[in-house]
């Protein structure tokens, strides 16, 4: 909200801050009314003054330039070179002297122009930032006082504060309200308000009748009739004040209602009285599906909950929100009805939100307008209208106010204030502060009853007064201490801690952490995953129907994600485009699904690798990248002390999500349950995104992996006897899964087999087509004795026999 310093001066003496507005800004900020920006036009026009051209000659060396001698008063004469043509001797002009900094950071200095000394510049309005186009320099009124600072002459010596008013301080949404706050902060008196309104003998009530049908939503409604006005442009001073605080002048009647709103914070509405059908105002709820056209011509379909101002036929204004097109002030208006009311804040807010209409009026009403100030504001407007538009204000105004708003007194002890603030609050100070705030204070000996003023909607309970004390005493004066705690050892959130541990493990594997938005494009996700079957088949929690965001920012963020894959893939493509041709990323975060109408969140990790890490100068063998991701997953599982897991190829290749290579894809089983998948990204997808390196990805359900964590460790004794190694090479069908083979070997070797490592896989010319050879090194070791050769031979034989039988392998 914009506040004019000069306007404040109408109500409280702040003259000392005109020259140092930042000090007042700091004062307000420290009192909880944050000044976000201070616009000080006077500062923009420093060293810009009114001058008089004494002589105008031709520049000796340039036809298009003139050489002027200009006085800025007190006998001071400047020689100035000027490029404009529209000035002559004895013109009064605007002179920017050396030291001035014009808009656009244009610094004025003494300079030589075509060999002639020039001590300043004669300005156009454009150069002063006051017009978009200018025809030559500005020629001022012959009465312009020579030497007067231009800011003062032009009325640009005001300071405008951009104030951030929190929703609880509706009382500060006006100049009078803020002046009242400043008076309180500084301990000053407000200037007395004058009213010069003279009323005619005629009766408002006889002109327009009033009926309030809903006193709950409209506790107070006042109105005054003014006849014989002339609608025209407002005078300069009024337009300037409105423009200064960011409002566009419209006509004198509307401008006055806006002016009074900015002055007292009371929104007003002026009806063209002749357009009020039946000469009757009814305050009542809208009819269901009733139509209403606002001032700017927007047609609304009413729902029935809105409080409306109606005449005998139709709605003519949406109470506190916006006026109707059918009854507004226009060029032909002669009689007006000024409305001033107190509408219930929540009702106005609801109506304004429902229809998406945000007006200065609705903003103030929904935060709370002082019910006691209604008539004062109405009469201030009537006074100004009579002054600026002529006409006569009728007496006998309406003021429907059956149940005057009463505040409840707050009981409070000074000790309580001290306790909550952590320092000794002084009793005298407390009483003084409360009175300065406009509260009625009674009581004594540390215990008081405090009745807040009606304009302070936020003062309801003792803690509110504690804040007021702290605020006026200064937050900077609150000492610092550490609280005395009762011992309360508590657990950290398990998932948080495990996520942290998981992150360490993955970072140890070279993966960096990513964070992506929780919402994605519903369309994009469907296309990327090719439906949710692939995730479901991998044991991940997911629902057919996703969770949509009702009001997404755009369609790229319209559904809650059900997988981490797409986000990480986007990160990868962006990275690749930036020349990061290899990278490792992981993300730990929630995915979302529905169970009937319940929203569920599931903790997942996604692990993505692209490009081989090998250095260009040292060529290393390139294994399929997916095994690197597999390694990361297995290290992760071991770090969670999970040793019982296996990888299985899915029953059908169609179980792979669409973004994966259907032939390079596996499910992870932990203790017999599916908990995720691993695979290489689909070549077509990589082609589409011009990613020219291999990409592998795994996604795991952490909720399942975290079950029973932390798993306890159990020591196993170590063998002190030598280990024996035996190598075997088996030939088998290409489709035989080595994982199955190893599982069988382990089963049979139980007891003395400690390791079964693959050290070679061969497919090629030396074998029949469709065959592969797998070389396995078996390590045997007994815990209790040195192994006898025969034992190793026996077990090895058993293993070979079983593999032959189960998988049809042959020893090579």
């Amino acid at each position: 909200m914009k506040i004019s310093l000069k306007w404040l001066q109408d109500f409280v003496d702040v003259s000392e801050f005109l020259k140092k507005p930042d000090e007042l800004g700091e004062l307000l900020t420290r009192a909880g009314l944050e000044v976000e920006e201070t616009i000080n036009r006077a500062k923009d026009y420093e060293a810009v003054v009114v001058g008089l051209i004494l002589e105008k000659d031709k520049h000796p060396d340039a036809d298009k330039l003139s050489l002027c001698r200009v006085t800025t008063g007190e006998g001071v004469v400047h020689q100035i070179v000027c490029g404009a043509q529209n000035h002559k001797t004895n013109d009064r002009v605007i002179v920017a002297l050396p030291g001035a900094v014009l808009p656009g950071n244009f610094v004025i200095k003494k300079a030589k122009v075509r060999g002639v000394e020039s001590g300043g510049m004669l300005c156009s309005y454009k150069e002063l930032g006051l017009a978009n186009e200018s025809d030559g320099i500005a020629i001022l009124n012959p009465a312009a006082p020579i030497g007067q600072p231009f800011a003062e002459y032009g009325g640009y010596d005001d300071v405008i504060f951009e104030l951030k008013v929190t929703p609880n301080r509706a009382d500060c949404l006006s100049h009078y309200g803020l002046a009242r706050e400043i008076a309180c902060i500084l301990g000053r008196e407000l200037k007395p308000l004058e009213s010069r309104l003279s009323l005619s003998d005629s009766s408002t009530k006889k002109q327009i009748s009033l009926e309030v049908k809903n006193s709950e939503l409209c506790p107070r409604y006042a109105g005054r009739f003014v006849s014989g006005v002339t609608v025209k442009e407002s005078p300069e001073w009024l337009k300037k004040r409105l423009e200064g605080v960011g409002l566009n002048p419209i006509n004198n009647i509307v401008d006055v209602t806006n002016y009074v709103m900015m002055e007292f914070g009371q929104p007003l509405h002026a009806f063209d009285a002749k357009l009020i059908e039946g000469r009757k105002i009814v305050v009542a709820a809208a009819g269901v599906s009733e139509k209403f056209k606002t001032l700017d011509g927007t047609e609304l379909n009413l729902q029935g909950s809105e409080l409306m101002i109606r005449d005998s036929q139709r709605p003519i204004a949406m109470a506190g929100v916006v006026g109707g097109q059918n009854s507004g002030v226009n060029a032909e208006t002669t009689d007006i009805f000024i409305e001033a009311a107190y509408f219930l804040p929540m009702s106005v807010r609801k109506t304004s939100r429902t229809h998406g209409i945000e007006t200065d009026s609705a903003y103030r009403f929904s935060r709370g307008v002082d019910p006691q100030g209604v008539v004062r504001a109405m009469d201030r407007a009537a006074d100004l209208i009579v002054q600026l538009a002529g006409g006569s204000a009728y007496g006998d105004h309406h003021d429907y106010y059956p149940n005057p708003v009463k505040k409840t007194a707050i009981e409070i002890s000074v000790k309580m204030v001290s306790d909550r603030l952590g320092y000794e609050a002084e009793e005298q100070k407390f009483v003084g502060f409360m009175r300065r705030l406009g509260c009625e204070v009674s009581g004594g000996s540390g215990k008081y009853s405090v009745l807040p003023p009606t304009f302070r909607f936020d003062l309801e309970q003792d803690m509110d007064l504690v804040e007021e004390y702290a605020r006026l005493h200064g937050y900077e004066n609150i000492p610092e201490s550490l609280p005395v705690f009762l011992a309360s050892p508590a657990f950290h959130d398990k998932t948080f801690m495990l996520n942290m541990k998981l992150g360490q493990t993955l970072r140890g594997q070279g993966y960096s952490q990513a964070f992506n938005y929780s919402f994605v494009s519903g369309h994009g996700q469907r296309k990327f995953l090719g439906g949710v079957e692939g995730l479901k088949a991998a044991g991940l929690a997911v629902s057919e129907e996703g969770i949509k965001v009702m009001n997404p920012l755009n369609e790229e963020m319209d559904i809650m994600r059900c997988s981490l894959a797409m986000g990480l893939f986007k990160n990868l493509t962006m990275n690749f485009n930036y020349g990061n041709h290899q990278g490792r990323l992981y993300e730990v975060g929630p995915c979302f699904y529905k169970v009937e109408s319940d929203y569920k969140e599931t903790n997942r990790t996604g692990i993505m690798a692209w490009g081989h890490l090998s250095q260009l100068w040292s060529k290393t063998a390139e294994h399929p990248l997916v095994f690197e991701v597999k390694a990361a997953v297995e290290v992760l599982l071991r770090s969670l002390n999970i040793s019982s897991f296996n990888w299985v190829s899915p029953q059908s290749r169609s179980e792979a999500p669409a973004f994966l290579h259907s032939g390079q894809f596996a499910h992870l089983l932990v203790e017999g349950k599916k908990v995720g998948y691993l695979g290489t990204l689909h070549p077509v997808l990589l082609e589409e995104h011009k990613v020219r390196v291999p990409v592998a990805f795994a996604e795991l359900d952490l909720d399942q992996l975290y079950k029973g964590q932390p798993r306890s460790y159990r020591f196993e004794s170590l063998s002190k006897f030598p280990a024996v190694e035996r190598d075997f090479a088996f030939v088998m069908k290409k489709s035989t899964k080595v994982g199955e083979l190893i599982k069988e070997i382990r089963k049979i070797g139980t007891g003395i087999l400690t390791k079964a490592d693959i050290f070679d896989v061969y497919e090629g010319d030396k074998l029949e087509k469709g065959q592969k050879s797998v070389a396995i090194r078996l390590t045997f070791q007994d815990k209790n004795a040195t192994l006898q050769d025969q034992q190793v031979v026996d077990v090895s034989q058993k293993i070979v026999e079983s593999l032959k039988k189960q998988f049809g392998v042959a020893l090579r």
Binding site: Y475, S488, W617
Partner: protein, 344 residues
């Protein structure tokens, strides 16, 4: 002894020792050893002649042959040692590596700066006895607003642009609902840190629609504004480093009373004024206050028997200030060149 045999032996001795010494590789030296000292070598051949000698000459001849054999074996050992040494020197020379070539890097990954900040704050606050909590991201209207004293149709709702899932569910706009879950499910005294992603319907050069917050709550029998100020000042000094000042300004949050906004002196310019602090010397880092009795009432915690304070910070903002990150939009991009800068 026949002079011929004697001559032969001497010849073998001198030839062999000369050739042993002249050998240029272990392999050729070994071949020479076989040639002279092997089973069918020169010396063995001479030995065969011993059979033809008269009986009395045999011992002398045998002795002589043994002497030569021992001598040659000695020469061989020395030659072999010299050769091995030379060969090793040669190998070391040829195996010279240029260690200024790039290292074969298998670097650890980095933590995302958002989580780095979260973990740092968590670690600091854990020292004061705070334990960490999380909560759902899709939150009931009640927990996100009502319980926090933000009723429907209250202007305070305008302070947070909200994403709705349905009429009764929102994407949480702050981490404060975690406080309510904790108040409902645990018994005071409580000292908790709540953290995680939050959402606001707002996206521009300085706002992300999905960002992170961290929240602290202390509920005990006697808790004051001074305690709150002391706690936050401690935290700010620990997080940003010593010498930083904090400033408290009155503000408004429906769930705290009194409420304050916390500024810290700009860590970039140390309060002199720069573009980060918009030339004010101060940077807003979060909000705080004493817990509004209405919040306790909603959560059915007996007040004033139990009192408390709460505070909240925006994580991205803390990262921007601490690490000097100049664009908030870098956070969700996950450019490895960005994330890798936070290697720890």
């Amino acid at each position: 002894m026949k002079p011929m045999s004697q001559t032969k032996l001497d010849e073998i001795k001198s030839t062999a020792s000369a050739q042993f010494k002249a050998a240029t590789s272990s392999k050729s030296l070994y071949d020479l050893k076989v040639q002279f000292l092997g089973k069918s070598g020169a010396l063995t051949e001479v030995m065969k002649e011993m059979a033809n000698l008269p009986k009395e000459e045999k011992p002398l001849f045998g002795k002589k042959v043994n002497e030569i054999k021992n001598f040659l074996e000695q020469v061989y050992v020395e030659a072999e040692e010299a050769l091995k040494k030379a060969e090793m020197n040669e190998r070391l020379a040829t195996e010279e590596l240029d260690l200024t070539l790039p290292a074969y890097v298998r670097q650890a990954g980095s933590e995302h700066p958002v989580y780095k900040v979260i973990e740092e704050i968590f670690t600091i606050m854990a020292r004061l006895g705070y334990s960490v909590r999380t909560g759902p991201l899709i939150e009931k209207d009640y927990y996100n607003f009502e319980a926090l004293n933000i009723p429907a149709d209250h202007p305070a709702r305008d302070m947070q642009d909200t994403f709705f899932i349905d009429q009764h569910h929102v994407l949480r706009t702050h981490t404060s609902p975690i406080q309510i879950h904790s108040l409902e499910n645990e018994k005071p005294p409580l000292r908790i840190i709540g953290t995680g992603p939050v959402f606001r319907c707002d996206s521009d050069i300085s706002h992300l629609p999905n960002f992170h917050q961290i929240e602290g709550m202390c509920v005990d029998q006697k808790v004051s504004m001074a305690d709150l100020k002391g706690t936050i000042s401690f935290f700010v000094r620990e997080f940003f480093g010593p010498g930083l000042k904090t400033r408290f300004r009155p503000s408004f949050f429906p769930f705290t009373e009194p409420s304050a906004e916390v500024d810290c002196s700009c860590p970039i310019c140390k309060g002199k004024g720069c573009s980060l602090c918009k030339h004010t010397g101060w940077i807003e880092i979060g909000g705080c206050g004493l817990i509004n009795p209405k919040v306790f009432y909603n959560a059915k915690i007996s007040y004033p028997e139990w009192q408390g304070f709460a505070f909240g910070f925006g994580i991205e903002r803390m990262g921007i200030i601490k690490y000097g990150i100049d664009d908030i939009r870098l956070f969700p991009e996950n450019d490895v060149r960005f994330v890798r800068q936070f290697l720890s």
